[in-house]
Symmetry: C2
């Protein structure tokens, strides 16, 4: 009763195996028939039949591998074909919308992005702009997406893409999933940006193979996505938690959420600007440039970012103590933090977190996906249901 | 492929159905054959065969229900027999060990408890005392347990009952599960007290039917157990998070864990004693008596417990924002808090928590199981593997 294929009808078994094989190729890239057989626990004739079927419809191609391993006839290399299934990934940030066409296997085939301002941030404006830009991008690439994934920095119900509140965008109660799906005529998955960032790191980034991890998202606001026991952690109704709104500094700055001294108000972009003595509305470019110049001058890093680092660390101690992850991935804007800041955060968490000590030391790393994490996560959310039907 | 019984061998199907039926009786109590059939989705002849088999070995009994519903022959009432399978539940607290023999269906058949002092708190002493007391209790009741469940207020690895650290007990690296199992010759499940409290509330308390809930444990220390999507939330290596060690008040009192201003230092028993102007080593009885007398004088409650209430609420706002539960159950010592304190906590969470607003209002209630929650949870942890083999 443990194997999902036990006793199922032959066509169900075939479909199940086909999806597993496709997911394996999509996530891990080209692979020989022999290693696919070994990893999926299927015999070579089953693999051959599945691969032949997928090759016939152009979903995969096969070629003789460049390097032969061992003697005998080489096992053919199976390659997912990016254009066989393409999804549209959209990352709605506070100051920018980014868009990408992503092919089977995860390759970004084409991109677009535009800035958001107060007058273009209205949900209707954003949806119209997305639809127009998607049309231009698909025409340019001559590719039609089969599904859409959207990341929003807000409180989102994953089941139907309802945006309850996206405070930094000034959105409330937007039926984003439903509306986009109606206009574009495609299945649409909408997720919280931190949740999708966590998904991206789990599938293609620093958290591959980690079953318990936290991704910290830092754009204008701060959020967190959690993978627990290999699955996304969500609260009731499918809403994910808002790690940025844990109270780290009672009596601190007032936050729009109703609290004072939220993690977001202490370590979000505005707090970073204050620490760097930049105007609070400094551009992202200016913030990153200042962080880079600071990184070149290690002596002054902790002098200027000491307090910021302390609040970042205090929040992470709480996150680690509450969730016990093996890995924390610092995403997005936090990937620009100078190394001494990250080193100090690591040291504080190791020293002060009871749970980190229990689990043998929670690792803290910078996101290798950087600013693309949410786009990659949106693509993976869109691919999720697609892999079963390609 | 969704049904766990699909395509399995007939004996596997029978065992699966038998376990499901037994779990249903164990958790929900006596039930008619007709309602068992309806709820388990099995036909009446299958139910009859299963019940007959269980009745033959004395695991259940049947009787004609007192009240007949509708016309026709009444459906027989099936009753789990408490003595058919008994487990030993143990709750190791900082100042006391409580023990109970719990029968199938959850009835507490017999109890024992003793106080712990500095010189009797050593793990070897505690294990010896447990074994001796268990012998006396089982002799007195003339019942042999089939499994043991243990709750410990510490950082516990659930898989093998390894206690990494139980700071309030001054325990470090104790192979509690292994040692108890070796001495008693029984399967032993060891869990963190807050995790088992959450399990108890989920199975038999305020959180029945809730799929996302948090149980706040408050003894000498403060902890939290989380049920997420119907399952216990654990971190890497099977360790559960330590909600009591989120930092709520930077610069607050130093905690043994390495932080300052942990939730535990601000709202644990010692903090409550300070707020009540009792000595920090006041007995639990004195603390509860003082809380009761305060409850009789509503005007002075918030005057004396205002600051305590604020820290309790600040911590809960963070818990709700991070995990998005539909329900928070205040356990143990917190069940003695005067109603105005709980009402104020509810109001603060509703006002300040973004996520509570999103999920339609997280409910906050007092534990109906009170001081027994961890004992009940330990029994359920012990029953978990037993129900499949009775």
């Amino acid at each position: 009763m443990t194997s999902p294929t036990a006793g199922a009808r032959p066509d169900e078994v075939r479909r199940h195996n086909r999806t597993a094989l496709l997911r394996r190729l999509h996530v891990d890239g080209p692979s020989t028939r022999a290693s696919l057989a070994a990893e999926l626990g299927l015999n070579r004739s089953t693999i051959k039949a599945l691969v032949d079927g997928l090759a016939e419809t152009g979903v995969v191609a096969e070629r003789v591998p460049a390097q032969r391993s061992g003697a005998g006839r080489p096992s053919l290399l199976v390659l997912p074909q990016p254009h066989a299934a393409v999804v549209l990934a959209i990352d709605i940030r506070v100051e920018q919308v980014a868009m990408a066409m992503v092919g089977l296997g995860g390759e970004i085939i084409g991109r677009d992005s535009w800035n958001l301002h107060t007058r273009t941030r209205d949900p209707r404006e954003v949806i119209t702009h997305i639809v127009d830009s998607a049309k231009l991008l698909t025409d340019e690439l001559d590719l039609q997406p089969v599904a859409v994934g959207v990341s929003v920095s807000g409180v989102v119900r994953r089941s139907d893409g309802w945006v309850h509140e996206a405070p930094n965008l000034h959105w409330t109660n937007v039926a984003l999933g439903e509306r986009l799906s109606a206009v574009m005529g495609l299945p649409v998955q909408v997720g919280n940006d931190a949740e999708l960032g966590a998904l991206a790191e789990h599938v293609r980034g620093a958290a591959r193979g980690a079953s318990d991890m936290v991704y910290i998202s830092a754009d204008v606001g701060v959020g967190g996505g959690v993978i627990s026991n290999g699955m996304p952690l969500r609260g009731t109704g499918g809403y994910v938690g808002e790690l940025g709104h844990m109270v780290v500094r009672p009596g601190g700055l007032r936050c729009y959420c109703g609290c004072e001294g939220c993690w977001e108000t202490e370590v979000g972009e505005a707090a970073l600007c204050r620490a760097l003595a930049l105007p609070e509305n400094a551009s992202r470019g200016a913030v990153v440039a200042e962080l880079r110049s600071l990184a070149a001058d290690p002596d002054s890093v902790m002098h200027r970012l000491g307090e910021f680092t302390e609040w970042l660390a205090v929040g992470l101690v709480t996150v680690v103590n509450m969730l016990g992850p093996e890995l924390v991935v610092l995403g997005d804007l936090f990937t620009a933090l100078p190394e001494p800041v990250v080193a100090e955060v690591r040291a504080v968490v190791q020293r002060r977190s009871l749970v980190s000590r229990a689990v043998g030391g929670t690792r803290i790393v910078s996101s290798p996906l950087g600013r693309d994490a949410k786009l990659v996560g949106a693509a993976e959310a869109a691919f999720e249901p697609v892999l079963g039907i390609v």
